[in-house]
């Protein structure tokens, strides 16, 4: 439990961006995990399993519906507008502005260290769709950095 609590907390925090709620989600995920521990066949998958429990708990208890993950093909128009004054500010804020469908696989990969195939299994979609979302998420971040760099050069 100690090995996974920090990773689970960070993932939970990025889902809800509330430290108390994040802690409750981690608590609940471990509580459910302990109850169902016998059902875990492969111990090497414990972290992915707990993350999936946490994600479901968040969807069930907080949003009262499944997290919307059905939009595979988003266009650039779906990207949030970046106000110009954000240019010099942090990556974290840009991540927070990413559409949920891009942000979640990115969090699972960067924070959880999961592969595209593992993420696909966790969020119930294809590996190709996960690769597309991750590519677009990173392209958005890189575009933001490029725009910020141009603005700095112009000043």
């Amino acid at each position: 439990m100690r090995a996974y609590s920090a990773d689970l907390y960070r993932y939970a925090w990025w889902l809800c961006r509330d430290r108390h709620l994040a802690e409750d989600l981690v608590q609940e995920a471990f509580a459910r995990g302990w109850t169902a521990w016998a059902g875990l066949r492969d111990l090497s998958q414990a972290k992915a399993w707990l993350i999936t429990i946490l994600r479901n708990e968040y969807a069930r208890g907080i949003t009262r519906k499944q997290i919307e993950m059905c939009k595979d093909e988003l266009t650039e128009a779906d990207m949030p507008a970046m106000p110009s004054f954000e240019a010099g500010l942090e990556t974290a804020q840009i991540v927070a502005l990413l559409p949920e469908t891009y942000r979640e696989p990115l969090l699972l990969q960067v924070l959880g260290g999961f592969s595209c195939a593992e993420i696909a299994a966790m969020i119930g979609t294809s590996e190709g769709a996960v690769m597309t979302r991750l590519t677009r998420a990173r392209q958005t971040l890189r575009q933001h950095y490029a725009d910020a760099g141009k603005r700095r050069m112009a000043k």
């Binding site: 960070r10 981690v26 471990f30 990556t91 927070a96 991750l134």
Partner: protein
């Protein structure tokens, strides 16, 4: 593998390149440069996402899991909400919303983000001037030493959370664009004092540990920020 396929694979999972991708990058200068640039972005991303984990998290989880009856805790919580409800209704009044809710919201926000007082973040005067401008104001002179600027979620929108070092100590300024506040609000709770004041494009709130310090910073804001209609 061509360069396009390499780019796609690198962006999808920078740390797990296939054997073909690794072979390609060794023989391609432009993809080597691209890979280096993606790795730099990734490093920044890892750093940005590493939210601080509260001290004693694992111990608290273990402790709570040993509490014998979870159902009892749920009932206790429900009971406390039920007992508090009549007082809340009186507090809210006939309108259904308290008259100081934006000021109270600012205090709640500060309390929920204690790291704002212990962390230096984006303490950049240019960024502060730009965000004041985006909120419809012009900064004429500094309000204090900047320590922390962050775009935070607030209810169903966002706000700018700024911490300043002032002669009265650390003070928080919260700028909320796009929300209508008809008149000034003040609130005081848990040792915090807050004041919320409308601006042409939203409102701002000042939170400090005393009503005097809050008033002083509010006065300074009125002297040093010109709000454009």
């Amino acid at each position: 593998m061509n360069c396009l396929e390499f780019h796609r694979q690198k962006l999808a999972d920078p740390r797990r390149l296939s054997t073909e991708a690794q072979a390609h990058v060794h023989g391609c200068a432009s993809c080597t440069a691209f890979a280096r640039s993606v790795d730099e972005t990734e490093h920044g991303l890892e750093h940005a996402l590493a939210t601080p984990v509260p001290d004693g998290l694992a111990d608290r989880i273990i402790l709570r899991s040993r509490t014998p009856n979870r159902a009892r805790r749920v009932w206790a919580l429900a009971a406390s909400v039920a007992l508090a409800a009549p007082f809340a209704i009186v507090f809210l009044g006939k309108s259904g919303r308290p008259r100081d809710d934006y000021a109270r919201l600012a205090i709640e926000h500060v309390v929920m983000e204690p790291e704002s007082f212990t962390t230096e973040r984006n303490a950049d005067a240019g960024a502060f001037g730009a965000l004041v401008e985006s909120a419809g104001g012009t900064l004429r002179a500094p309000l204090g030493t900047l320590r922390y600027i962050r775009l935070c979620p607030l209810e169903d929108g966002t706000c700018w959370h700024i911490v300043l070092d002032t002669p009265d100590g650390l003070a928080t300024l919260i700028i909320v664009p796009g929300r209508t506040l008809s008149a000034m609000q003040v609130a005081s709770t848990g040792g915090w004092s807050a004041l919320a004041r409308p601006t042409p494009r939203g409102y701002y709130a000042v939170v400090t540990t005393s009503s005097q310090a809050t008033s002083r910073l509010d006065r300074l804001i009125s002297e040093r920020i010109e709000w454009n209609a």
